[in-house]
Point group: C2
Chain length 249, copies 2
């Protein structure tokens, strides 16, 4: 849309990397091939910071994307990481621990480079799980344990709302007294000034093109906004209305 | 023990506030009465920062502890919060969101006052859930969602290790691809320099007296330390060996 501040924006935001009972990224194969193929991507820059074994993680991604025709390079392998980002054809940030991932992005000072490469230059960005959390405004709605302390919870802000990946419905038979996922996100929504949260169940994804954000996968997504009951939206919904709303604020 | 740096230390660290199917704090009534009664406590200073409704939360605690013979005052009610801590007979920090709680302790600058009152002056400290998380070295092993950003994850350090409250065993039938609790704590143990983690199942608690830390409740607790398999310890175990180990480092 011509009204978009980021008409070139192209994001594939996966709730999760693996969907029972398939292998790594297998369930999303069609989406990924379409998404990267559309921009004639041959080589993907992979960001492995969410796990500690950067090379092992990069090898795993190579084994998955290689047979689909994509070369993979690990960002950890480059001495000049900003330069690597600035010349990337596409960026994929994988899951693991969101705090460790975001701290890595801050430690290597690549947040601005990634943001500019994706929003201004329009290279495709793919994230899964923690890689989806860091693509949003902030990591306030990660499910991960805070095993390291990043300098901020503010993230890449490729979209101006938050996402909760791996959304899990409340088990009505549970006697466990920890908060349910719904309670956690509603507590977040009580904090003044926070953006809405799109909760993606496993197997769901958002495909963002400019100011459109289409829900894909089999399951409905939930939108949490302020004190309102979370509202359910079917596959095919364009969450682009959030871009309009958040721009207007 | 004369070798303890904190011979006066008295802590009652509950995994959770409510145990199915009982009411608020009901399952721990005997432990709480004994613990506070031993120091002839008449009045408890309650810290309600883990939830947003400070007065409502304090009223709930009053309704629970009042009938057992304890007066309750909410820390939010005092203009001079350090003074309130310094004159408290006993302190209770309740559960809710650990990040919100710790941020509140930093915002009101009461961490040092609480630490000194408990460790140096020996007044009884009771924590449940998030209130147990903040009593330990840090909140790195909270289960909560990071809905606000505290200036640090370092906490009261009343004990030099971490606790994971509400510990939940892995459901072997789950197809959900988010990390299990065990995986999360093991990821934390891979971070260099972190202390061991005592995982307390619901209904479990640690009663700390000087350099002794006795496991109470019905269930075994798990100790996570480095790369080792988590080790299970029965009720009655004295985790005081952790004080010795961590002092020696
Ligand atoms: Ca994760
Ligand atoms: Ca909690």
């Amino acid at each position: 849309m011509s009204s978009s501040p980021y008409p070139a924006r192209q994001l594939l935001l996966l709730s999760n990397s693996t969907l029972h009972p398939g292998g790594y990224l297998e369930y999303a194969q069609g989406y990924i091939k379409d998404f990267l193929g559309r921009s004639a991507v041959k080589k993907v820059l992979f960001v492995p910071f969410a796990l500690r074994d950067h090379q092992g993680y990069t090898d795993k991604v190579k084994a998955a994307l290689g047979p689909w025709g994509f070369q993979v390079e690990g960002l950890h392998d480059f001495a000049d990481k900003c330069q690597a980002v600035n010349s990337a054809q596409a960026i994929f940030i994988g899951g693991g621990n969101t705090f460790q991932l975001l701290k890595g992005l801050y430690d290597f000072q690549v947040l601005e480079a990634i943001r500019s490469r994706v929003l201004d230059h329009g290279i495709p960005y793919m994230g899964s799980s923690a890689g989806t959390n860091v693509s949003t405004k902030s990591i306030h709605t990660t499910n991960d344990m805070p095993i390291v302390f990043p300098p901020s919870f503010e993230a890449l802000n490729l979209v101006p709302f938050n996402i909760n990946p791996h959304y899990l419905d409340t088990d009505p038979n549970s006697t466990h007294k920890g908060e349910t996922r719904e309670e956690r996100i509603r507590q977040y929504q009580q904090v003044p000034g926070v953006p809405p949260v799109v909760a993606l169940r496993e197997g769901s994804l958002l495909e963002v093109t400019g100011d459109h954000a289409i829900l894909k996968g089999q399951l409905e997504a939930l939108l949490f906004r302020g004190d309102a009951e979370p509202r359910s939206y079917p596959t095919g919904t364009d969450f682009g209305f959030l871009f309009q709303e958040l721009k207007a604020q």
